[in-house]
């Protein structure tokens, strides 16, 4: 009797496993075959609309040169996506201007097989925000975001380089202005496997200090959109990229990976900062329409390390040890994502 029960249980377990394998494979297939937007139309339209709003905001506030307004019908592109074949060409005069950006953003490199197999040298691209004439946020004591993030990026680079497996590339290693488009191209040229953009937040109305990490996606949160608009300045993206944007967004694979990378980094940053006595708030991981994340074809995140508007934090950021710590937390987050901290890292580095 008992043996029959055990037999039954084993059978059930086996069929669960088989279904697991099947669903796992189906999911992989589904990521390409059936767009997420296929079902739940109302929801998807809502998302699209908010994305669209964000795009428009970027356009208005970014350095987009000709102030071309868009007809209502185009804004409701959510409808258009249902019939991808018949999508009207949205390229207006603005389209010509941003054709290049467009290409950089959407050129379809199939991810090479060796890399998918996880056999590749991992190229990690670190993107210190702003630079040159674009100073980013400026603290009350005059500390500039561009300088701090560059310093932290350099520290992070040398930490990651301890492991022989990673090639680490910075999008800028000097105080120069690098357009977002170029950052995207750099990631492609260097065949980055993951992309991490680092920034400092600025919250003029609030004295608090927060950490948050973003990955590309629509946002219906006004604050996030506003932040995106700040960080997107310097891109020349036009609405003609809209359809492609949505398609990219649809690339769920990258989305899932990006989210995971964001979670690893955010939790390492927040947990360690808190442990070391920082009075800091965890704002978690969110999706946001940052142009620089959209263009990069691999898992990519944008981290707002802390707040330069917080006076205490600005003081601390001026110390080398604090910047070194932040770089270390970032390193841990990245290695966690790469699945390395669990064993191997102990051998790779002499800590």
């Amino acid at each position: 009797m008992i043996s029959v029960l055990i037999e039954r249980r084993n059978l059930r377990m086996k069929s669960n496993i088989l279904r697991g394998v099947f669903e796992d494979n189906l999911r992989v297939l589904g990521r390409r075959a059936a767009p997420r937007w296929g079902t739940g139309f109302t929801l998807s339209r809502k998302l699209l609309l908010s994305l669209c709003t964000a795009v428009v905001m970027v356009l208005i506030h970014g350095s987009f040169p000709s102030h071309q307004w868009f007809p209502e019908s185009q804004i409701r592109a959510g409808l258009l996506y249902r019939q991808p074949v018949g999508v009207p060409d949205l390229r207006g005069p603005a389209g010509a201007l941003s054709g290049e950006v467009f290409q950089a953003l959407t050129e379809n490199q199939e991810v090479p097989l060796w890399r998918l197999l996880g056999m590749g040298v991992k190229t990690i691209m670190i993107d210190p925000g702003h630079g040159g004439r674009d100073s980013g946020a400026i603290g009350t004591r005059g500390t500039m975001e561009k300088d701090l993030v560059l310093d932290i990026a350099r520290r992070l680079k040398s930490k990651l380089e301890v492991y022989d497996d990673y090639r680490v590339v910075l999008t800028r290693d000097e105080d120069v202005q690098v357009p977002l488009k170029e950052r995207v191209e750099l990631a492609q040229r260097h065949q980055a496997d993951i992309f991490i953009s680092i920034h400092l937040n600025y919250l003029p109305q609030k004295p608090i200090n927060i950490i948050e990490t973003f990955y590309f996606g629509p946002s219906d949160d006004v604050k996030t959109s506003r932040l995106a608009e700040k960080e997107n300045a310097g891109s020349e993206i036009g609405l003609n990229n809209f359809k492609e944007m949505v398609e990219k967004l649809n690339d769920e694979l990258r989305l899932v990976e990006s989210r995971e990378l964001a979670v690893s980094i955010q939790s390492s940053l927040y947990n360690s900062s808190r442990k070391h006595g920082s009075d800091i708030f965890d704002y978690g991981t969110k999706q946001a329409p940052f142009v620089v994340l959209l263009g990069v074809d691999v898992p990519s995140v944008l981290v707002e390390l802390s707040c330069l508007s917080n006076v205490e934090e600005e003081k601390k950021l001026n110390t080398e040890s604090h910047r070194e710590n932040i770089a270390r937390y970032l390193e841990t987050g990245i290695l966690d994502y790469l699945g390395r901290n669990k064993g191997e890292a102990l051998y790779g580095a002499s800590r």
Partner: protein, 337 residues
């Protein structure tokens, strides 16, 4: 055209150094994972084929552009070639066991479980032309399934490029149940090569010779026998004692092996931990290292009592497991994919 009623199930283990394939028509083959294309027109005439595989490719390497499709080093030679190589080798593995081409082919391919874990789509793309329906699974999972170890078990697949760890708990293993590290066969080869170069600076040998020494004499822990091999010095064959160097090279993978095993197990609740520790299974070419099960079992003692065993047939454990999965999979699943 395929006949709907005729089906052939195939299990494939796609490895960095060796790949094996098994089908339910009883065919079972393995090859070294080499793919080679003739370098030029003359070479094409000499070898008489468009593409060569396995040892045949290796033997003709002077006429060929040759690669191990999944090897890390290949990246530098251009991405397209290595993609093409993966495609070619899978096709070859399918053809090796499916001469009878009018059956519908349902294949399960086991691939190294890696950290970025997004390989499935690519594999699927590479083989969609040759098989009717396909599933991709992680290599150690296929081994576990093949052995009927669905729960309370841990499989460690010590391959050439990577060592893959996988915990089975009655469901399909997720990210948290798997780990990969780079301390595997190739790493031992490199260690042995450098140990020998240091001790016998005048002797001439290459990495292939060294690998052969390893595959013949590998061991960890203590053994009584001597290990003497012939290595030419100034063109003359001389016998050398390489026991110490061999041990050091083979043992170089142990620290990471032990640590990763302990760490992975430590992530589970104590009751489950105790069960898993009693059922650790070594697979892959590295499980053939003499004494490795005993040494690992001994080393893990400090974490509680353990039992470590090796699979019977490391060369085919993966492909046979994949085949079993393919056979057990309900027909409706195959049709949907």
């Amino acid at each position: 055209m395929a006949q709907a009623d005729k089906k052939l199930h195939i299990g494939i283990d796609l490895g960095t150094s060796r790949s094996s394939t098994a089908a339910d028509n009883g065919e079972k083959r393995w090859i070294t994972s080499y793919v080679g294309w003739p370098k030029d027109f003359v070479a094409a005439q000499v070898v008489g084929k468009e593409v060569l595989f396995g040892d045949e490719a290796l033997e003709n390497r002077l006429s060929l552009q040759i690669c191990r499709p999944l090897e890390r080093g290949i990246i530098r030679e251009g991405i397209e070639r290595s993609e093409e190589a993966v495609k070619a080798i899978i096709r070859h593995l399918v053809e090796l066991v499916s001469k009878d081409s009018d059956a519908r082919i349902h294949a399960v391919v086991g691939v190294p479980a890696e950290s970025l874990n997004i390989n499935k789509l690519a594999i699927r793309k590479a083989v969609s032309e040759y098989v009717h329906s396909l599933m991709v699974v992680s290599e150690p999972f296929a081994v576990a399934y093949g052995m009927g170890q669905l729960k309370n078990a841990m499989v460690i697949d010590i391959g050439a490029g990577t060592t893959d760890f996988c915990i089975m708990h009655g469901a399909i293993p997720g990210e948290d149940d798997q780990r990969t590290n780079l301390n595997a066969g190739d790493h031992i080869d490199e260690q042995l090569f450098s140990n020998l170069s240091e001790k016998y600076p005048n002797a001439t040998f290459n990495i292939n010779m060294v690998r052969q020494f390893k595959e013949q004499y590998s061991f960890v822990g203590d053994i009584d026998d001597e290990i003497k091999v012939e290595i030419p010095v100034d063109g003359k064959p001389v016998m050398h004692d390489i026991k110490d160097e061999m041990r050091r090279a083979c043992e170089s993978i142990l620290p990471a092996l032990i640590e990763t095993t302990a760490e992975l197990i430590a992530g589970f609740d104590p009751e489950f931990q105790a069960k898993v520790k009693k059922n650790i299974i070594l697979a892959g070419g590295g499980s053939l290292i003499r004494g490795i099960d005993g040494v690992l079992q001994e080393a893990l003692k400090e974490y509680g009592s353990c039992k470590v065993t090796c699979v019977d047939d490391p060369l085919f454990a993966g492909s046979l497991g994949a085949l079993k999965l393919a056979q057990d999979m309900p027909a409706s699943y195959w049709e949907t994919l």
